[in-house]
Amino acid sequence: MSALPAAAAPAASPRPLLEIENLKTYFPIQAGILRRTIGYVRAVDDVSFEIRRGEVFGLVGESGCGKTTLGRTVLRLEKATSGQALLDGRNLFSLSGAEMRQVRRRMQIIFQDPIGSLNPRMPVSDIIGEGLLAQADKENGWGDRKLRDDRVRDYLDVVGLRRDYARRYPHEFSGGQRQRIGIARALALAPEFVFADEPVSALDVSIQSQILNLLIDLREQFNLTYLFVAHNLSVVQYISDRVGVMYIGKLVELADVSDLYARPRHPYTIALLSAVPDPDPRVRKKRLVLHGDIPSPANPPSGCRFHTRCWFRERLGNPPRCAAEAPAFRDLGGGHLAACHYSEEITRDLVAQAVGLSTA
């Protein structure tokens, strides 16, 4: 345990670890025998934000909103259509293959599916060791089998598994243990930045809490920065420092976690929070029920993308501006950003009723 080198200590510079600027990731829709492109799914559509060193940045939204694609694009697992992502000021999208390989060690991913993301034919030592082998050089000596296996066992220890599990295969483990293996694989390379893509969604609630506790401990132990993507708002609230909310490829709100949950300023965020079923039967909310389905990101609505389902627009008497003009993602003060023309008119009482908070 003590032999483990901690990740690089945070530098004194105020520069964010990761700056994402005007990022767009479009997937072509092809049709016909010639596979002609007839349109694009705008999975991520002009998103800008930064992730500060050492923070947990939570990204929430419903399926198809682009949150996972955003994370995967930053790690260059998907190709960006335009925009940039700067890691310590270097644009990840303009790095050569060799340079990117160097940077990969600093950025790792934890996947949602603890079964599908582990090769069933590999023992744990190879699953975790594969990344080390790919990143082996003279300096770290990971090319050496003995050294590599030692490191694998160290990291099994770190994630709370027994060192001798290295010889076992994925099917011998429970879901929670498999997710620990996935975490060990990500951390063995001593990354600074970890993209956790729905890391607890597939787990039962009693196991989920074990993994959340582990992720928090590891962040402190190794000075990690997380991009934590999830659809579960309670999980994101528990673990995040700042939170971004996405809807059909766009960020619609971003704020400190306490601010976002106590004083949401975008009607979609309010509807999301209002919809979450609460296990405490004493909590009484005036539920906002959104009409209709989430529109397709291949053909997003004009103006504000949420206007077709917006409960607040209805209350305002359907002002034409919502359908005509895309709202700017603007700062409402204190780094609380929201993309709604009418954020200022959302009163505290309205929020309190819908979300079930006390107005105090």
């Binding site: 419903e62 399926s63 429970s174 929670g176 039962d204 609630v205 009693s206 196991i207 989920q208 809490s209 074990q210 959340l212 506790n213 928090i216 659809h231 708002l233 309670s234 999980v235 609230q237 528990y238 673990i239 976690v257 949950y261 509807a271 999301l272 209002s274 919809a275 979450v276 079923p277 609460d278 296990p279 405490d280 039967p281 004493r282 539920r287 029920v289 959104l290 209709g292 389905d293 989430i294 389902r309």
Partner: protein
């Protein structure tokens, strides 16, 4: 707080007992031995009542539902006990009579609406198929019943939807179609097995509101199967918590969620991340569920229980009534002989607050 809570007032329209499951046992004979998936489960649902059956993966909640519907493949499955419904024991019914019950008097909706719908038939013909099975109507009437059923579950433009295929619908819309199909024959009991688990939160909200409003309007009784205590808290009146094939706690939603009397129930509630727990470690239930081939001799939760002692290892407790017959917990701490041991349990803070 004492255990002798007054019997809560029943909602209006909730009547006599509709479904009475007695000592249901469903096991599967597999290569490595016998898995007792449901091991002595008993509960009742009143006419118009709403019961939630809650537990984590593998606890036996879905097998319980499938057993009631006699949808267990035998072999490898084997069923024992009684499922009394409308004066009969469903487990001894011949298959023709059971066919009448299934979809007619008891309807079921499943977690994955896509795999429960036939992809090569239109939505309309699938609903009409259910109508023809249980009602004496002609084609035109059946189509009208199907259209009305879709309209009742809030499907926009139901006339057009009748001629669409499942892949043309969104997940939420498919689940509405499933509900429409289930309700088309006006069942006395609706079994919903994780009906919103595959759906996004805003769509889940729509479906929960729909199930509640239909249930209240038609008086159909509801058996809701879920892992989500939040969904339980706002959809049903009574709840039974399952663990390792057994019911470990029963009561009203308020009783069970606000004053859990089984360490497993409280552990589950305490491990849910929530507002008040930020900055604190989440409490966890140590370990994992027992291997079905090597179940503990005594209490099934004992290996994971922070309050266990010799008694729990030695033998398994029955469901102990806490003041009234429907409020029970399967825990030795509730046996008057071990009254003195309750102090540690009772001293723990509410599971909705953070604690070290």
């Amino acid at each position: 707080m004492t255990d002798s809570a007054a019997i809560p007032a029943r909602r209006e329209g909730v009547g006599d007992i509709l479904l009475d499951v007695r000592d249901l046992r469903t096991c599967f004979h597999v290569m490595d031995g016998t898995v007792r998936a449901v091991d002595g489960v008993s509960f009742t649902i009143r006419r118009g009542g709403r019961l939630g059956l809650v537990g984590e993966s593998g606890c036996g909640k879905s097998v319980t539902a499938l057993s009631i519907m006699r949808l267990i493949e035998m072999p490898p499955g084997e069923m024992a006990g009684e499922v009394r419904f409308g004066g009969r024991d469903l487990l001894t019914l011949d298959s023709n009579a059971m066919h009448e019950v299934r979809g007619g008097e008891i309807a079921m909706i499943f977690q994955e609406p896509m795999t429960s719908l036939n992809p090569v038939l239109t939505v309309g013909s699938q609903i009409m198929e259910a109508v023809f099975l249980h009602q004496e109507v002609d084609r035109g009437q059946a189509r009208e019943i199907a259209r009305q059923a879709l309209a009742d579950v809030g499907v926009p433009d139901p006339q057009r939807r009748l001629d669409q295929y499942p892949h043309e619908l969104s997940g939420g819309m498919r689940q509405r179609v499933m509900i429409a199909m289930a309700l088309s024959c006006k069942p006395d009991l609706l079994i919903a097995d994780e009906p919103t688990t595959a759906l996004d939160v805003t769509i889940q909200r729509q479906i929960l509101e729909l199930i509640k409003s239909i249930q209240e309007r038609t008086g159909t009784a509801l058996l809701l199967i879920t892992h989500d205590l939040g969904v339980v808290a706002e959809t049903v009146d009574e709840v039974a918590i399952m663990y390792a094939g057994r019911i470990v706690e029963t009561g009203t939603v308020d009783e069970v969620l606000l004053e859990p009397r089984h360490p497993y129930t409280r552990g589950l509630l305490a491990s849910i991340p929530s507002q008040g727990k930020r900055g604190y470690r989440l409490s966890v239930i140590k370990g994992v569920v027992p291997n079905p081939f090597r179940m503990p001799e005594g209490c099934k939760f004992e290996p994971r229980c922070p309050y266990q002692w010799e008694q729990c290892v030695a033998s398994e407790p029955d469901l102990i009534a806490l003041g009234r017959p429907d409020r029970t917990a399967r825990c030795w701490l509730r046996d008057p002989r071990f009254f003195a041991r309750r102090a540690a349990y009772d001293a723990a803070p509410s599971p909705f607050e953070a604690h070290e």
